[in-house]
Point group: C2
Chain length 138, copies 2
DNA sequence: CGGTATCCAACTGGATACTG
DNA sequence: CAGTATCCAGTTGGATACCG
């Protein structure tokens, strides 16, 4: 009854899903942490060492969000000295697999992207009188 | 000769690639724009209408970056009134395909994510004396 | 060891007004 | 129509210091 009218068109469903994924892993660190757990559980300090450049604060925030989303589990080991380990859930593993094509794409296109940027910047740097700054079509 | 020492380990390669992809499409709008070009070229105003909630400024910024990265082309049609159309490059199309698994993953796990969040928030809201706030393991 | 708390700089992105 | 320019609020994230 709270449904107002027609069901959303496919494009809007895509958009909604994209927003969910990006909200989860679209930030600077989440996917890097997830990828570092691919091989197995890691402790907080291991992650901090492995995920290059991450601050303690951002690692804490990132793993908290991923735990909340059900991507990884946080386990406290009551030993001396105490430590905490993080591991992917099954859902986290499938997420990891789902990002693999994107990783491959990146590997294949890294050079082409650099080329495209260089070419674009060249065109942008020199916009003299007779030059063709943009594709034209009449 | 400029190479200092050993080749980077696979994990670091992954990380570097992830940073590239995230830098390109990890923002709020890029993937939404790309997905809206999947079916074919679109004009600026069409994109603005279709990509729900995007401001004129952000659409301009987003398509400029995607053009620079070689993901889409910008074509100016010299008619009255003048208009501009955007289309995916072959590289843009392959990027789009590479994100499909992530889209499917999102579709399959949306409900589970909501459940995980709800459960996490419930545990967080009520951390009374005898409760088990976190997984423990000795 | 694995956090939390606080502060602050930089960036993101929305609103609005103006332009060719 | 398709921008550009400006301003500004909100968020992200780094540095630092302290805590159980």
């Amino acid at each position: 009854m709270t449904v107002t009218d027609s069901e959303p068109v496919p494009e809007q469903q895509d958009a909604s899903r994209l927003r969910v994924v990006l909200g989860m892993v679209g930030d600077k660190w989440s996917l890097l942490v997830v990828c570092n757990l691919k091989e197995g559980p890691r402790r907080f300090s291991e992650l901090k060492r492995t995920v290059d450049g991450i601050s303690q604060r951002m690692l804490t925030v990132t793993v908290r969000n991923l735990e909340r989303d059900g991507i990884l589990t946080r386990t406290i080991h009551n030993v001396m000295p105490p430590h905490v380990s993080y591991a992917l859930t099954p859902m986290g593993s499938t997420l990891c697999e789902a990002t693999l094509p994107l990783l491959e794409w990146s590997a294949e296109h890294l050079a082409l992207i650099d080329d495209a940027r260089a070419e674009y910047d060249t065109r942008a740097d020199t916009p003299p009188a007779g030059s063709v700054g943009n594709q034209l079509e009449i």
